[in-house]
Amino acid sequence: MALHLNLLHEEILQQRQRQRDPLKIGMMVLGILGSVMVAYYMWNAYKTLEIRNRLSQAQHEWAKDEPKVTAAQKRSAELNGIISTTKVLDGMIESRFYWGPVLEKLSKCVALNAQLTSVDGAVQDEGKITLTVEGLAAGREPRAAAEELRQLLLEQLGQSYNSVKVEFKSLEDLDTIVNISGASMAMARFTIGATFATSAAKPAAPPAARTRTREPQS
């Protein structure tokens, strides 16, 4: 085996050490990684720019539509308000109580030998109606004439309303005698209270002409 002498041993070692310099290798790795990262960043930036374009398009489209939508929403809210207000008002109109039909029925109940001196009617809560009728009845049996009026009133109100109650609050004979068609008749004063529910009340024709009333003679 031939003897081989390396006279440049130190120089070669230094060269190898320079090549293996960790800082240099690290800088190279950092450089490669940095390049990859920059490339990735650029790619992302490109994508972001693309998205920004899409956003500006969408914003432009929305800017065109927004006034129309705002106007449509405003109009829609207004229309909904009108519809609901009209519904509530219609409900109020439908649920109100009509006195015209009651007066008509009352006029049908008063015979020639009866006279009403006072009528007081009121709409109570929960759709109840109260009616107080005061008057005078004349006849051979004035109480029977008053009872006839009460029966008629019950019958008339019962045709249109629910839960009808018609009762005498007072019924008293009077000393006064009246002359009807040449015949002297006794008189009675009555107060009738009526209550009924409004459910079936509907606007109707105005009352028929009242039958003639006569003046009591004292």
Binding site: T48, V69, P206
Partner: protein, 191 residues
């Protein structure tokens, strides 16, 4: 197989550590100041785009719905306008009593007077632009038949008026005629 043994000098170890730290700093700077903000900006823009697209799609629906509603609400709008027209401009106390007087006069009942009792807002939210007015209407003299016709006509002509109480008394000097007091309430638009 020959095993390569790398012996690092102290200087080399220091340089390696320096490179490692540089790498970590590079990663931190890259993600915190470059890629992170870019990604968050992109996400925010994507979110905005989806919001806007939803709004645009919704706007088309909204416009169509309003057009549809407009068609459906024709009857309600006409009815509402008619009900609103029952309340003329001005304070009700100024125009309601003359209107009542004219109405009853045209129904053969003279000297009708109306005075305002109270006014209060409605409890219903839908009627926040409306006010309830209570009136006392005095009819000093009318016969029963005329009164009935007039009351029926009033109820039919004034849909927003409801009579809450009616008091009829025969006139002592002329029982053919009655004196009437009506308690009525009306709904009127706030002006």
């Amino acid at each position: 197989m020959k095993q390569v043994q790398i012996k690092l000098t102290k200087d080399q170890i220091q340089k390696l550590l320096l490179s490692g730290m540089g790498f970590i700093v590079l990663l931190y700077v890259y993600f915190s100041f470059f890629l992170g903000p870019l990604n968050s900006s992109r996400d925010s823009m994507l979110h905005q785009i989806s919001d806007l697209q939803a709004k645009v799609a919704g706007s088309k629906n909204e416009t169509a719905k309003t057009a549809n509603l407009e068609k459906q609400a024709v009857a309600a709008t006409t009815r509402f306008a008619a009900l609103k027209a029952l309340s003329p401009e001005g304070a009700p106390i100024a125009w309601f009593p003359p209107r009542v007087r004219t109405f009853f006069a045209s129904n053969e009942i003279d000297k009708a007077t109306a005075r305002m009792e109270t006014s209060s807002p409605f409890k219903e939210k839908d009627l926040e632009n409306w006010t309830r007015y209570s009136w006392i209407i005095d009819l000093p003299q009318a016969d029963f038949s005329t009164l009935g016709k007039a009351v029926a006509a009033l109820e039919n002509n004034e849909p927003l008026l409801s009579i809450n109480r009616i008091n009829i008394k025969a006139l002592p000097e002329d029982p053919q005629f009655q004196q009437i007091v009506l308690n009525a309430s009306t709904a009127m638009v706030k002006r």
